[in-house]
């Protein structure tokens, strides 16, 4: 005689998420850089910013640093990044 066993995982809730449309070009774009507040992130973003500006023509950057690396970014901070065409989120351990 067989057994019926129950799935231990949580069922998905809510609407499925979709990927945002990719940027057509970086030229003239505004890029948000979300810093996870670890010790090496700012230096890493300085480097990324230089490359994106000089080689890809990115016009503007919005850089914000999370107050706590282990907790989500506060909504106000995410709102400030909302003006960007795309956002990078990086861990700089």
């Amino acid at each position: 005689m067989g057994l019926r066993v129950l799935d231990p995982r949580l069922e998905a809730e809510g609407e499925p998420m979709t990927m945002a449309a990719p940027l057509r070009a970086l030229e003239g774009a505004t890029i948000g850089l979300l810093d996870n507040a670890k010790i090496g992130t700012a230096r890493f973003y300085d480097h990324v910013e230089g490359i994106l500006r000089s080689r890809f023509g990115v016009r503007e950057f919005i850089r914000r640093r999370k107050p706590d690396s282990s907790r989500p970014a506060p909504p106000e901070l995410l709102g400030e990044l909302g003006g960007a065409d795309a956002i990078l989120s990086a861990v700089g351990d």
Partner: protein
């Protein structure tokens, strides 16, 4: 009246062996074998906690994952719990879902912590929990399986799979299970739960995000200062070699040292105050631990305490009767996760 329906998908398997194979193949376990969570068993466990399947036991605050009683019961069955352990499991889930515990951060961190669980009150005896020999390790079914239930929930409900949400570089063996019960009957002091505001006679669970325990030994003195200086030295070493940030530490003190400390008239409060004063380092001492590259980034005369205040120290009486041993249980990452106590 019909029983409320269970929501989980069900799978047909030939027998318990095949059930375990299914769970192993799908990554639904910690690598150890599971007890097949059948509907009958899950309903029995729900009954032991007086919960309906859809009751939400806790919500993980960051990703908003809702841990239902049904999933908690499935994990408890899988872990090998007795149904009577369900009230402890439920209190434990509620505790780790408190925002100050920071379950998401301590699960996802490269730091690789485990929830360190301390059970107090009458339920310890009702469940046959071990409080003496081998107190931090294998010793009773309840200790082993309550701790394991939380791990299985983190894996299956929160997605805390190694390499996915769980980004631990190393982790430690306590991630399988890390649950102790305090030896209240043989302790000269109030229990941990009592010190954290739980009335006498009420069972409670306390949980902190912890690194691996570090054993200390000093059986060469009965002076409480000397004994506690050994614990403080281990904590100072942790400040220098692991993390300098202050938060909750736990010390587990076995009977031989408890007797010596209590004979000198010292309470748990005295222990906390001594360790608070002694467990601190100067930034310059980082240079002795190979961290000179970072020592100079701030004033090297700055003093760092292990505890933000004496109350940050959790003092737990547990362990076998012989031997001048104890253990220091360091925090995951300073005060980013704080210990939480919940009544059962």
């Amino acid at each position: 009246m019909n029983a409320p329906p269970l929501r989980s998908a069900a799978y047909e398997v030939a027998d318990a062996y095949e059930a375990n194979e299914l769970f192993q193949d799908n990554g639904w376990t910690d690598g150890l074998p599971i007890v097949p969570p059948t509907e009958d068993l899950v309903r029995r466990f729900l009954g032991a906690a007086a919960l309906e399947p859809g009751d939400v036991v806790g919500v993980e605050p960051v990703r908003r994952r809702r841990i239902t009683a049904e999933k908690a019961a499935i994990a408890a069955v899988m872990a090998g719990c007795m149904a009577e352990s369900m009230p402890v499991v439920v209190a434990l889930v509620r505790a780790v879902c408190e925002p100050e515990f920071g379950l998401h951060g301590c699960t996802a961190s490269t730091g690789g912590s485990a929830p360190f669980v301390v059970v107090n009150g009458p339920i310890r005896r009702e469940l046959g929990m071990n409080t003496t020999h081998n107190a931090l390790a294998n010793g009773s079914r309840a200790n082993a399986t309550i701790g394991r239930t939380l791990r299985l929930l983190i894996i299956n409900v929160l997605g805390g799979l190694p390499g996915r949400l769980d980004r631990s570089t190393l982790g430690h063996p306590g991630k399988f299970t890390f649950c102790v019960a305090e030896d209240e009957e043989d302790s000269p002091w109030p229990s941990l739960a009592a010190e954290r505001g739980v009335p006498a006679g009420v069972s409670a669970v306390t949980v902190m995000a912890a690194q691996s325990p570090h054993q200390v030994m000093n059986e060469w003195t009965r002076d409480p200062r000397e004994i506690l200086e050994t614990y403080a030295a281990a904590i100072r070493a942790n400040l220098l070699t692991y993390s300098i940030w202050a938060g909750n530490y736990a010390v587990v003190i076995a009977k031989q040292q408890r007797e010596a400390i209590a004979a000198a008239g010292w309470s748990k409060k005295d222990i906390r105050e001594y360790v608070f004063d002694s467990a601190r380092v100067r930034r310059a001492e980082w240079r002795t631990a190979g961290k000179s590259a970072i020592a100079a980034r701030k004033d090297e005369e700055n003093v760092y305490t292990a505890l933000r205040s004496p109350d940050d120290l959790l003092v737990v009486a547990a362990g076998g009767p012989a031997g001048g041993f104890g253990a220091v249980v360091p925090p995951w990452y300073g005060a980013k996760s704080l210990a939480v106590t919940r009544r059962i």
